[in-house]
Structure formats: structure tokens, C-alpha cells
Symmetry: none
């Protein structure tokens, strides 16, 4: 098992000025290459601190990837620190200098003195070309361990990893194949899901790990496996997936990077159906989600957000008497909203909702979080009553997740009981 | 100098499935409280690894904040590991259980066995209430050092930090006063802004730092100062703010946690005006932003998302001849959309937009990112043509930022030249 540690250097990461997206990206790529990221450490622009982190990482990992601190300004200490750590002098590299010169000439400028110093590299390192910037990457080997220093600028680091570093790492290690499959569920809370799949989870083989990743209206479950043969690992994951489906299948709607709106898009295009929405408490969020998908104008015609009752009665022609008798948050009202928008906008399908997002507006009978949704298709109207708790943002997102998934199931012919 | 270390627990962070936004946020908040984040470490869901990280952090830091691993499922090991580290047994906490029960009852459900176990807490810890979820936070003291364990779910951790943890930390340490003020700008790109304020930025006193935080349609500038007297630090920041205003004031719309939708809300409520929206390329996003503000029904009546031209002509009564002659992405069309939705929904104001979000639909004359916006108020209609580049998500967000800021300026009586 090849272990890696990622060390990110930079005060801006510690004070929270910048969110570290680099190490997440690197973690994914290393993982795909069969290298396990054991730890990530963020340290400041400080020689002692960096050296302490190098020392500790060297005990724990086979591969140490370092980002940051390679710029031409005074707070960039990585190169000097690497020289100290590996007891190496600097040498001027003509090829690196020519690369830097080329970048400056393309902008009609001369190389500055500070940028010239970026062509000085530790004698003991192998230089890695930076195709997107001026600071070269550096590769060190020490007793079968590898240190790789790369720029902190995301697009520079990514290009360096993809062009050279991942290849160089794979050339030096025989790595197991690691494979992940993430399952997306909607309609069941994390703890209920855990109870439901408990027996299966407890009997997973030791080579397969399960992790839960909850967010509003969505619980992701990630199955991870590793082994020497890619086909065997994939097979093992597929078998466990099949078992998971037989237990929790009714809650599973997709995998990996799927979204409900993209899955619905696929079904609508396949069946050549169109959709509109009539929203109240979601305030346009469902329409927004639908239209994040490029090309959505192929199946989506438009929406009415009827935030006030008069908009519901005048433009969606919801019966005022019904609102008066049953309340605006009711099955009857949401049913009318769905049918009327469908007819008015001449779409095959529609989604409607009416509820109390909060924090105000709740009553003992209909507390905050009470939402009625309706999905209309050529086959008829399906309605559901939801109870979504009292966090406004979550009520909005979860109403959308419930509605889109109900719509998806109806279009796909899945059971909606 | 009080040093903190942040330890994030979770395999999903190491393999890069999730970007760690928690530690950046925590870093900011600790920084504001005068506590310096010395290191951040991400470790896996593994007892040995977690304990090794605790051991090392204890040597380096006064405060160790730990997030993750507090869920009710089997991969959540933090609590057990804390018990081992502090040699503590668990005890059942009745108050925590009642909190958990309340959350389940609000959704009409009974507490599951696995969630019940979340009410077991280490005897040696002080329980910190989780106002947004089921897992309580835990506070440990050991030889003048403090360990704080919090959930990894961002909104749960943030609420816990803001309600209790930051206060508890400040009560235990004497820290320098650090003060930040963030300025929000719209309508100018980061590098142009940097050029505009260059002279001022270069002459900032050494105790004041400036950071740029760009995102679509918004460039934040954060001024930070530190010192022993709160009043002096605030005074220094105020003076620099005044200078910044005199240079870049036309682009500044708010501060700190302001949002355009909340600023617009304040102005509409103050002037007792109502608003509606007629959207095309933004697909409901403007309506969604407006309705994220609690109580928005006081001034917002509703929207029409006219994604197809037939919805524009039939429902918004945009003249078909105008669309034919000028094109649907034109000043004339967006002007009609704004006036007609205002009249139909009987609101005092309205916002309308028509554009090409992409990736398809562009022409040489009107490339992707071409958007016309219109804002109607009792004073008349103001239109603007925008050119927003070819990233779909950014075109949508930036159209909304432009529209809401134009609306805000008109309502506030600011210059809109």
C-alpha cells in the first residue's frame, strides 16, 4: 500500500482567506492512481514549521507532495527550506530560465530580477517543467521516498500533476487499484438508512469500505474497494452494489456525479416531454435547478412563482373558495396549481408546491416545514405531503429534492408508493 | 500568542470527494478572535491515526479543534477515540436525548436506536449544544489545553462555533484584538479594481492588511487590523475605509455579511414597495435569491420564468413583432417584460432579463453571455446591456448580481451612470 501525505504551505490557508481546493483535487487523482492519501497538513510560511512537517511526513508516507511557497516574493520559502532539508546548494538552470523568459516575452516584458531567481534550483532535485507558470516543480528522492514540490496556484499544479507527476509516481510504485462508487439516496434520513442496511454493512468484506455523506435532501453512500486487479475490484463493488439495491433500492436515484435535474432532463428528452413549474414556498428554486442543465430549453418552458395568494388565484386560477376552506397549503390547492400551469403553458408535465418555509407562518396544525407537492404528467397528478423541519434553507432544498425525485420516478416508471 | 490546530476527520476529505470548507471558515473566525491557527491536519476515519494527530497537536497548540466523525453510523469514530484519548467512559445525557427527540418529533418520527446513542457523551467532557443537528459538541480540558470536538456538517459546526465555542475560547485566553471589515463590490473585475486602488493599497500602514476575495459578480475586499486597544484598531480601519470609499465608492454596495437581496429587502420595506420578476436566461435564480430572505412575502409577490418565446408573448404579452424585428435578446423585449409583469402582478417595481446563458445559442452579433436587463420602478424603466463571458453558471449569477445592484442603487437614489 503506497501512502502519500499532502503538505500545503501558506498563511492564507491557515487564516481561512483561501479555501484549499488543491488537496481535494490531488487526493482524488492520487486515489485513482492507487495511492492512498494518509494525511493532509497545512503549515505556515515558516522554515521551522515546514521542516517539522517534512520530518513527520517522511516517517509516515512514501510520497510527500508539497504545494505552495514557490512564488518570487519574500514570503515564498519552500525552495530554501528544501535546500536545507536535503542539504543541497542551488544551481542556475538555463532551460528553466529560457522557459521563464518565454512567458515574459509573450506579454511584451523583460524578466525581473526576482523572477530570474526562480531559475535557481536545488542541485539534488530533478526539475519538473511548469507549463502554466514560472516556478518549476522539484522532485527529490531520499531512501525510496519521494518529495514533490509544486506551485500552489491551482491550474499550475494540476497541469504539472497531469503532465508529469502522476506518471512519475506510477513509474516508481506498483500500486493497487482503488475504485469508488457513490450511491445517491433521497427520501430517508441518514440514521434510518443506517439501520435499514445494518446487516449488510456489518457483513461487508474487509476490502470494501462504506462512508455516509449527508446533505439536505440527499444522503450519499460511498463504497470503496482496493485490490491488485482492476476487474476484480470492480466486480466486488458491483456485487455489493447489487445487494445494497435489493435492500435500499427504493431510495436510490443515481450515482457519482448525477443530479436529479440532469436525470430528469435525460428522461424528458428521451420521452419528448415538456415541463413547467408553479412554485410558492420554493420561490423559483425548482426552476433554477432545472435550468442549471445546459439545453434545458429543449424540455422546460417556464414557471410561475406565485408567492402571494392573489397570484395563485388570478394567474394560476386556483379557486379562492378552496383556499378559504382548505387553506393555501393543502392538497387541493397544489393539485390545481399543477394542472393549471400545465394547461396554461401547454406542457406535458408540471411540478407544483405550496408550503411554509419559515421562520414565520406556522400554526399548530401546519407547522413550519409543512409542504404539499404535486407532480402532473400525462398519467395524472400525484400529490405528497412533506414535513421538513424548521430551517428555511433546508425546507426549500428538500422540497426541490423530493419533487424532482418523485417526478423522476414517475417518468422512469418506478414505484412511487 | 494563542495557537490553535484544526484536525478534520474523514476519508472523504483525503480522497478529495469533498472540499474542506470548514477549516477555512474556522480559520477566519479564530483569526478574528485573536487566535492564530498554526496548522491544519486532515486524517482518516481511523482510531490510531486520529490519536497520533491528537498527540502531536497537543504538543504544538493551546487549542485543538476537531471536526467530523460524530454521526450515528459505524464510520464515525471520533467519540470513541476521544474516550480512549482522555481515558473516559460514556454516560447517557438526558438533556441531549431530549434535544434529539425534539428534532425527530418535528418531522413526525421516533428516535432510532443509532440516534439514541448520540446522547451518550464522555463523562470527562462538557457538552456543547448542537442547535442544528443531533450530535452534541464536546469540550475537554487537559493541562491548560482545550480540545473541542464538533460535527463536520458545515451549518452545524458554524452554529456551534458562533453560539458557544468562540465565546468559550475567548473566556479562557487573553488575546489581541483583531478586527476585520469586508467591503463588497460589484461591477468591476479584480485586476481592474486592484489597479484602481493601487496607490492607496501601497500606502497602507503595516498594521493593516488587505485581501481580495473574488467570486462571480462580486469582489470582496477585506481590511484587517490588529492591536491591543479595540477602539484604536477600529479607528484605523475606519480611516482606511473612508479613503477606499473616495476612490472606489461607486462599486461598493455593502459590507461583511450583506447580500444584495437583503439590502434590497430593507429598501423595499422602508419605502413600502413591492416587486415581481420576469426572467428568461436566469431561469428563476433572481426569484430564488429574493426569496432566500425570510419575510420576503412582505414585498415580493411572484415571478414568471418565460423560458420559451411563446411564454413571453402569451403570458407576458411581449409583442411578437418586436421579437421578430429586434430579437428576443434586446432592449425593447426586456423593457416590455419588465413593464408587463409589473402591471399584471400589480407590483410597484419589477426586474426582467433576457439573454444567452450558453453554451448554445450564441451568434457573432450576440455571443453567449449577452444579456439585457431591465429594472422598472415608479420612476420609470432602466435598461442595461451586459456581456458576461461564456460560463453558463457565471452568466446566471452575474446577471442576478447586476440586476439586484442596479435595483438597489435606483431605490437608494444612488447614481446609476
Amino acid at each position: 500500500m503506497v501512502l502519500a501525505e499532502i503538505i500545503t504551505i501558506g498563511d492564507e490557508l491557515l487564516i481561512g482567506q483561501v479555501v484549499d481546493t488543491n488537496s481535494a483535487w490531488m487526493g482524488q487523482k492520487l486515489n485513482e492512481a492507487g495511492i492512498r492519501v494518509f494525511q493532509k497538513t497545512a503549515v505556515s510560511d515558516n522554515e521551522e514549521h515546514i521542516i517539522a512537517a517534512f520530518n513527520e511526513a517522511e516517517k509516515r508516507a512514501d510520497v510527500i507532495l508539497v504545494t505552495g511557497g514557490l512564488g518570487p516574493t519574500k514570503d515564498d520559502l519552500t525552495k530554501i527550506t528544501l535546500c536545507k532539508y536535503f542539504k543541497s546548494n542551488l544551481r542556475f538552470d538555463e532551460k528553466v530560465f529560457l522557459d521563464i523568459e518565454k512567458i515574459f516575452k509573450a506579454r511584451g516584458r523583460e524578466v525581473t530580477k526576482t523572477n530570474r531567481s526562480q531559475a535557481e534550483v536545488p542541485e539534488k532535485c530533478t526539475v519538473i517543467h511548469n507549463s502554466m507558470g514560472t516556478a518549476p516543480g522539484m522532485w527529490f528522492e531520499k531512501k525510496n521516498k519521494f518529495f514533490v514540490s509544486m506551485p500552489g496556484v491551482p491550474y499550475e499544479m494540476k497541469a504539472m500533476m497531469e503532465k508529469d507527476v502522476l506518471r512519475m509516481l506510477k513509474e516508481n510504485f506498483r500500486t493497487p487499484h482503488i475504485f469508488h462508487k457513490t450511491v445517491l439516496t433521497q427520501g430517508i434520513g441518514e440514521s434510518y438508512l443506517s439501520d435499514l442496511i445494518e446487516t449488510w454493512e456489518n457483513s461487508l468484506p474487509p476490502t470494501i469500505k462504506l462512508a455516509y455523506l449527508p446533505s439536505p435532501g440527499l444522503v450519499r453512500m460511498r463504497l470503496s474497494g482496493s485490490g491488485n486487479l482492476e476487474s476484480e475490484v470492480r466486480q466486488e463493488i458491483a456485487e455489493e452494489m447489487a445487494k445494497l439495491h435489493s435492500i435500499a433500492g427504493k431510495y436510490i436515484y443515481g450515482y457519482d456525479d448525477d443530479t436529479l435535474e440532469s436525470l430528469v432532463a435525460g428522461l424528458l428528452k428521451e420521452k419528448k416531454l415538456t415541463v413547467s413549474t408553479a412554485e410558492s414556498c420554493t420561490g423559483g428554486y425548482i426552476a433554477h435547478r432545472i435550468t442549471t442543465v445546459p439545453g434545458s430549453s429543449e424540455y422546460y418552458k417556464g414557471s410561475v412563482v406565485a408567492y402571494h395568494n392573489e397570484i395563485k388565484t388570478k394567474f394560476l386560477e386556483v379557486d379562492a373558495q378552496t383556499i378559504s376552506e382548505k387553506g393555501v397549503v393543502s392538497e387541493e390547492v397544489v393539485n390545481q396549481m399543477a394542472l393549471h400551469i400545465k394547461n396554461k403553458f401547454k406542457t406535458d408535465c408540471s411540478i407544483a408546491c405550496s408550503g411554509i418555509a419559515g421562520p414565520d407562518g406556522g400554526t399548530p396544525e401546519k407547522p413550519v416545514g409543512t409542504v404539499w407537492i404535486a407532480v402532473a404528467t400525462p398519467g395524472g397528478v400525484v400529490t405528497r405531503k412533506l414535513q421538513l423541519g424548521d430551517n428555511r434553507e433546508r425546507v426549500i432544498i428538500e422540497t426541490c429534492q423530493h419533487s424532482l425525485n418523485l417526478f423522476r420516478k414517475i417518468l422512469a416508471g418506478e414505484s412511487i408508493s
